[in-house]
Subunit: 207 residues, 4 copies
DNA sequence: CATGAATGAGTCTTCATTCAT
DNA sequence: CATGAATGAAGACTCATTCAT
């Protein structure tokens, strides 16, 4: 009985994820509004009705998809960072991790960026908060690393760790956007050293 | 006759701009899809039909609006930078200019950021190119400044000017996004020194 | 200016009524749920979109249609009763008026009866109240007639005028329903004398 | 074997009635269209599929439910009337029975009234006939009573028994509708004497 | 027979665009 | 050119019915 129950649950879980995968594919390719529920259904190889058995609305499907992928990427990154030897290594791992993630989930990253800016669902502050929380939590991790590094004398003390996080995120995002805007212009992966260098030492000529 | 013609032209130009202003207001507030053509018409105090006498479609109206504002901001920034005394002053002016611009056109900046990421009009590569061109042209200006500064011994020579532009843009955008995401969290204007410092010297402890 | 305004208004009024007529035709024939908005549109020879320019939803169109017809029938009946010479004449006019009305608006009468019973729009108590008010107001008129008649010694005094109204309405409705259920079984119009007799003297053998 | 067969049959009968009870509850509360098959299933504590093992469609389930309850009420009333001592007593019993029935099955009575008016299932004339037959058969019983009463000198002879039935039904229905429309306005049960009086002697002042 | 997930046809509603005045 | 009513294609969502387990 418990076995059969658990099998059903697992089955449902599997289908939920199939739908989320399909949703990610079409939503990231065409955006929320240009994607119809039927597009998702076709991609998922389920009927429209079935989608509605899993998600009560197009909007919630979309949000769930973003949450789902975000959570996974977050977990992946956390696992990577957990093994960092020291603050500098942490930084290298993060930058490299972001590069990898960007290659693997290019379209999702674009979508997420838009979503973070937009007020697509102005009435759904709850959801924005949820997503924002995940991100804030993540930045806290980065800030802690800068704080530790500063204590160890590796980073400056006249700049707050939070500002350093903004710099780190901004800088890596800047290169990322350039790459996303035209992936053929250059290889994002080749920018690893440049990003690290600029973040740590800046553009100024060392005196 | 030529006078009357010109007066007509000027009149038409005036109306075009009125409509573009109205479009900017509603599009930036509600986004492209949640804004109806009638919303724009009401805001512009013209009828729907009249809007179509000036712009052949909602999409082109939207695009024109973005171009229009982008061009103005670009002009404004160019004027500001033209008076720069030297590469470092140029950098300061740019960062401060971006801050000011962000305060004056918060919503537009958000919209533009989304638009740059999104492929809202995947079929309209022409438009994307046009906008991208304006931006590329702008980045060339920034790159030239870094090149000049490097020649003058103010900036590093082991990093390409183009990469420095990415760093500059990314770093300032990073703080900007943080502020746009929650304008009450801090004052963007207060970050001037931090951004400048981080860009020039990085997060690393000077040895 | 005032003329043109008024012409537009009249034009709009005319169209509104056209749509209401069309709505009455299809709604009374097929019922609310089996009628699609397109059915109404086709009948009205307007497009679906145009219907929505006049009425914000199928539900409100339906309700407006009922109100509209009800109001007209009410006016008609009031005009008829206004000329009554005395309470007995009033009674005769009312019964005859109801017969006529039933012949002219058979389907509407059926629909109204259903609607009075049903809670089709449970959330729209407002509307039910509005319709009920019109009817209550009408019953008051009937009650007043019985009161007057009782004072003049034509009607019993041991029964309240309100109960007499219930009897009048019930009795005429009873025959009406029988006729509506199967209009071929007999002629409703032929029942005038019987209804009047039964109402005034009852089924009991006069002693 | 015949026993086991019969047990199975009885079991099936029991379930059928359980489902009909559940159907009555939800259909009378929400109406045919606003009730989903799942609503009935939940109420009946069976699955949707099982419902379809007993009734081939929602429509037939609905019709069966009405027939089922109608038959029971009919039986109940017949039992009551069978014991009538004379035509006048019969009349009293009938009116009182209708009052009681109305209190016990208020919602069903409302539904039945609507159904009798509406052509919900215009294509299912068969069903309408079936229901109508039950009712017609019932009216015949009432007519017979009036006929007998007239022969005994209790009722008028210048009015057909059938018309008296219409009067009886209409009059009692009239008060019933008023009560159903707003059960708090008065007590239907209190109207027994008034209804009887009006039916027998009418509203006119006895001369 | 019992189950309930899957199906997809059917509806209401929106809104960009047109065009007669 | 200005107007705004008319249009109808398109899309989100529902729910009666089926069928594999």
């Amino acid at each position: 009985m418990s076995d059969s129950q658990s099998r059903k649950e697992r089955e449902r879980q599997r289908r939920t994820e199939e739908i989320l995968e399909a949703a990610e594919k079409v939503f990231t390719e065409k955006g929320f509004h240009r994607t119809t529920v039927e597009d998702v259904a076709v991609q998922a190889e389920y009927s429209v009705g079935t989608l509605y058995n899993f998600f009560p609305s197009k909007e919630l499907l979309y949000q769930s998809m973003i949450e789902h992928r975000f959570q996974r990427l977050s977990d992946q990154m956390n696992a990577l960072l957990a093994e960092a030897a020291d603050p500098m290594d942490f930084l290298r791992r993060y930058i490299q991790g972001k590069i990898d993630l960007c290659y693997q989930h290019e379209l999702f990253v674009k979508l997420y960026t838009q979503e973070r800016m937009g007020d697509r669902f102005a009435d759904s502050q709850l959801w924005k908060d949820k997503i924002e929380d995940l991100y804030v939590q993540f930045r806290r991790l980065l800030a802690d690393n800068f704080r530790r590094g500063a204590a160890e004398g590796r980073f400056r003390r006249d700049i707050t760790p939070e500002d350093m996080v903004s710099a780190l995120e901004g800088l890596t995002d800047g290169f990322m956007y350039d790459w996303l805007a035209d992936p053929n212009a250059f290889e994002y992966a080749d920018k690893f050293e440049v990003m690290f260098e600029l973040l740590v030492h800046g553009v100024g000529k060392p005196s």
